[in-house]
């Protein structure tokens, strides 16, 4: 069912002729992949939808409008809390996408607020957030030490009254990962929004999305992240003919060229995204595994392909740490 979902997102006319049971399965799969809002905007105005589908999608559009308002408000709260530090505050992921008014933001679900700040300003930022009502989520001292020594972000903070999480990043991949993105270059190239908050440059947004999807984590929720990449590539390439060469240049700078190439190939495979063939490179056999993992969900919303999922889970740890450190980490987590 995920494959049908991807096809309809790419080409809404592919939903014509679906039967009631298929619609139910499609809606369920889209909810499970956090793509119902995106689907709702893609199918807006599509003729001949069943009445019930129209109602479900209309409610999903209202809901994502509300999510957008809340995400922007949360970003504004962070801006006010951090204004005194003078540090540049760069929005990442969903909040950045909607704050920049990108196509990818239409119907996008948004969870936590993710921001990037210069590493040397982390102490100031942390202090200001704690003063403004954010609190640590994890109290465990191993977790805390782990985050501080080995992660690209502070341990998560949650706001006392608004109950929303913030992830404060100082770069876009853990320092233990093999690629070493250039955090200073990310910040230097960032773009100011009217509010004074910033986003990454368009090329860096794509690089970050690709890194987040393919170089960090087990691809859970990956279909949605790949949809972001599809929308961004289409929009940025249409806006600016110099986009593809600059994307290649930034991917190289951040040591993420193979990762970006993988993202381009999979976006092309699943969403028919027009991509620069030179940057995408030749298809690799392993692309098939990534594709299968991204589509591992059925029409009941259940995860499928258990072994493949587990393999990607192991991969996510393998990429994050050298073997000895990984063994120690897993040992600590298993025995505490």
């Amino acid at each position: 069912m995920s494959r049908l979902l991807a096809r309809i997102l790419a080409d809404p006319s592919a939903c014509r002729g679906l039967e009631a049971a298929q619609w139910t399965a499609l809606v369920t799969a889209a909810r499970a992949e956090s793509l119902l809002g995106s689907l709702a905007f893609r199918l807006e105005g599509e003729p001949g939808l069943p009445a019930k589908v129209v109602q479900i999608l209309e409610a999903a559009r209202w809901d994502s409008e509300q999510a957008r308002t809340q995400a922007l408000w949360e970003a504004e709260m962070a801006r006010r809390a951090l204004a005194g530090t003078g540090a540049p505050v760069i929005l990442l992921k969903g909040t950045a996408i909607v704050a920049a008014g990108l196509d990818a933001g239409r119907g996008r679900s948004i969870g936590d607020l993710d921001i990037l700040v210069p590493h040397e300003r982390l102490d100031d930022v942390q202090r200001s957030l704690l003063e403004a009502g954010w609190e640590w989520v994890k109290e465990d001292s191993y977790d805390d030490l782990y985050y501080r020594r080995w992660m690209h972000e502070l341990p998560p903070l949650i706001h006392r009254t608004r109950d929303r999480m913030i992830d404060v990043h100082h770069t876009i991949l853990p320092p233990t990962a093999r690629p070493r993105p250039d955090a200073a270059a990310l910040i230097a190239a960032s773009v100011a929004l009217e509010s004074g908050l910033r986003t990454l440059s368009p090329e860096d947004m794509v690089v970050h999305s690709a890194a987040h999807l393919f170089a960090d984590g087990d691809l859970a929720g990956g279909l949605r992240n790949l949809w972001d990449i599809d929308r961004m590539l289409r929009e940025f390439a249409a806006r600016d003919p110099g986009f593809w060469p600059r994307l290649a240049e930034r991917a190289r700078l951040h040591q993420l060229r193979p990762t970006v190439a993988r993202a381009l190939r999979l976006a092309r495979a699943l969403y028919a995204t027009p991509v620069d063939p030179a940057l995408a490179g030749r298809p690799r056999l392993s692309d098939r595994f990534f594709e299968a993992r991204l589509l591992a969900r059925n029409g009941w919303g259940q995860p499928t392909r258990r072994a493949l999922r587990f393999a990607f889970y192991l991969r996510s740890h393998w990429m994050r740490m050298p073997p000895l450190m990984l063994a120690r980490h897993l040992w600590t987590k298993a025995t505490r």
């Binding site: 009631a20 619609w23 139910t24 809606v27 369920t28 909810r31 499970a32 069943p50 019930k52 589908v53 109602q55 479900i56 209309e58 409610a59 999903a60 209202w62 809901d63 509300q66 308002t69 009941w300 919303g301 259940q302």
Partner: protein, 288 residues
Amino acid sequence: MRHALNVAIGPVSFRVGSAWRSPVAALAGLYRDYPAPADEVCDFTVRLEPEKPWRRWLRPSVAIHGDYMLPDAAPLSLAHGLLAAEMGMNLQMALGQKRFLLLHAATVERGGRAVILTGESGAGKSTLAALLGERGWRLMGDEFALLDCESGMLHPFPRAISLKNGSIEVMRKVAGEGRLGPVLEGTPKGTIRHLKPRPEAIARMTEPARPALILFPRFGADRAMRPVGAAEVFVRLTQASTNYVALASRGFDSLSGLVATCPAMAIDYPDADTAISLVEALFRELPQ
């Protein structure tokens, strides 16, 4: 999933899938007389499945999953599979319903005008609504009142009424054994039996009604009533709503519209007959 059933309750439809036969069979029995939504797209999906694969056979335990889930909900025993299905459907409504403002309330209707009965769990609203449903009122629902954000109308949600402990015997005497579902003993909420609404309530389950009166019933005190001010009604209804915050300005607008147009009373009653006479009297006094 191996076993599945579509159920439509009022304007909302559910697809319930199960790894075991018995929960779906029990659900099918309870909803046999409801119009079948076989050819309809379902709003929500519920999955009753084992938490770990081996728990399908070995000490089967039913985890309640679906479009919307609570991360740490405790699984139920297979004997309580029907309750799991009901909880799964309620959960979809509570977390996923965005078309209607959802009030945790029972609703009855007469002459196109609806009475909303709301209050904390255990206040007796479910039993009171069930009794009214046997005495000339149309039961619109015992659990959720659905307020249409656009029209301000109330939509029915006449699911099978979930009777608990003492109220089971009360309703068995009034409605008879034939409309009661299986006895579920030892559930987290005690003994539960479901009561099918009367055929008229099911036949008219897609027919909305204009809200006319809001009541806050309380069982176990001497007969009394007092008017409740608009501000208090508003705040109590925000607390009785599962999606007021999620609906944002739509929720605020429809709830303030409801509070501005409906009188509200708190009623205390020592027994069912008193409660029914109070509801009847207050309803008669409403301006036509």
